[in-house]
């Protein structure tokens, strides 16, 4: 059952249409990759789900009393702030704790659990400024997990990280997706194909939606990313000209 669904979504930013007729849904137990070029509207879609951008038309429904957790791009966070890992994670519960109240036992327990999930419990007292890129990404994930969300939104979690770190994070996201819905906007096609249960190709609207293994038609990738047939994107995806030619003879030599 889908815990996040978007229907007929149209969004304008500064009078310019950014998203039109977007329909998609994400279910608990799925890690869904949101792929598209710069300006395709990936971040806008995430911000819309968070309620930070107003839709012109359309509905976004988050199932029942489900909470949405948000992991922004790493550069959005002030890493030179003199704060420890556990305090940074606790800050994710600020809205939940409420005005004029102090964090209680339940809040610290949620922080502890979140740190265990991302395996940062050992570094809980370390200043965030002393962490590596991968550790910082995990702090942001833990901060979102501190709300125990049913839906987790990740914005470019792999950006600027090396391969081993990406692999660790990919495993973490797959584990997290077992108990919740995870929607990840990313430019890292190879990682998305490898890690995700499903991919949504977005360019202003949803161009294709399905498991990575079923998105073998080169045309949907060309349409989404506005690239030609000889793009090295297909090498990254393992969609070489020959393998596509077998299924789509009419595109060859067009």
């Amino acid at each position: 059952m889908s815990v996040l669904s978007v229907a007929d979504l149209h969004v304008d930013l500064g009078g310019r249409p950014v998203l039109r007729d977007v329909r998609m849904s994400v279910e608990v137990g799925q890690l869904v990759g949101l792929l598209g070029p710069n300006g395709a509207g990936k971040t806008t879609l995430l911000r819309c789900v968070l309620g930070l951008v107003r839709a012109k038309v359309g509905t976004i429904s988050v199932g029942g009393t489900a909470t949405v957790g948000y992991v922004p791009q790493r550069h959005e966070f002030t890493w030179d702030f003199p704060i420890s890992v556990e305090q940074a994670v606790l800050s994710g519960r600020t809205g939940r704790i409420g005005l004029l109240r102090r964090p209680g036992v339940a809040d610290w327990r949620a922080v502890g659990e979140a740190l265990e999930r991302v395996r940062l419990a050992d570094l809980r007292r370390r200043p965030v400024g002393e962490l590596s890129g991968g550790q910082r990404q995990r702090v942001l994930v833990a901060r979102a997990l501190a709300l125990r969300p049913e839906v987790l939104l990740l914005d470019e979690p792999y950006a600027g990280l090396d391969m081993p770190t990406q692999e660790l994070l990919g495993d973490l996201f797959a584990t997290l997706a077992r108990e919740r819905a995870v929607l990840m906007a990313t430019h890292d096609l190879a990682a998305a194909v490898h890690d995700c249960d499903r991919l949504i190709l977005l360019n202003r609207t949803v161009i294709a939606d399905g498991p990575p293994g079923e998105l073998r038609d080169r045309r949907v990738w060309m349409e989404t990313f506005e690239v030609g047939e000889r793009s090295h994107l297909f090498t990254a995806l393992g969609l070489s000209a020959e393998s596509a030619a077998a299924g789509e003879p009419e595109t060859v030599g067009a």
Partner: protein, 282 residues
Amino acid sequence: MSPADFVADLFNPDLAFLGKALLIAVMSATVCGVVGCYVVLRGMAFIGDAVAHAVFPGLAVAFVVSGNLVLGGTVAGVLTAVLVAVFAQQRRLKEDSVIGVFFVAAFALGIVVISRAPGYAGSLQQFLFGSITGIPDEDVYVVGGTGLVILLAILLLHKEFVAVSLDRESARAMGLAVFRLDLVLYVLVTLAVVISVRTIGNVLVLALLVTPAATARLLTDRLAVMMVLAPAIGGLGALVGLYVSWSWDLPVGGTIVLVLTAAFLAAWLAAPRHGLLARYVF
């Protein structure tokens, strides 16, 4: 002059103004130290400078009409902060340009207004560079009361201020009223400036906001420690500064700022782990 002579002067009934000035300087520097932590951590120093200058026309108007200085300064400071926030929505201009336009305009307005007051040169100098004489008794209570209100507001809103400083977008997603929290912070900065202007002067007040907090930041990686250290450094700097200025007959605002600057340089040299000495000598 020895510290003992200074203490004797403090309790000399003929020099009653000295005790009042010391009390006000130490209280306002302490409050500025706390507020300054946010100013330094959020990179708001320029906004702090703008608000500091922007309170001037309010003070000038209050002075000319013999009104309440704290009220006048606060109104002018908040008005400028709101104008900056509104005009910064215009995307062609960056916020620092808008601040640059408005704070100088506010300051210019203050100069024009105060020129209408009798004995203008003397009062202008008092406003710009501070003074320890002629402080009415009730100012001690106004400064103390306002300082307590500022500290109470920070105690209550600290976790929200931190969440917004860490990441505005996520703070918004959490449902925090980011714009309103910013406005409250500007008001707190304005109030801290207003209560400090009297002794330290309008031009120099920025140092009370920035220097103690920056010094504390050099000394620690923990926010809680920083927010205790900064007011301690500020308060102590005001005490030492006033003592030095009284002993050697130096202008009080300038002396306090120079004492604080010396503390900053000392921290930069000798801070544990990150100081110049720790990095290159040991």
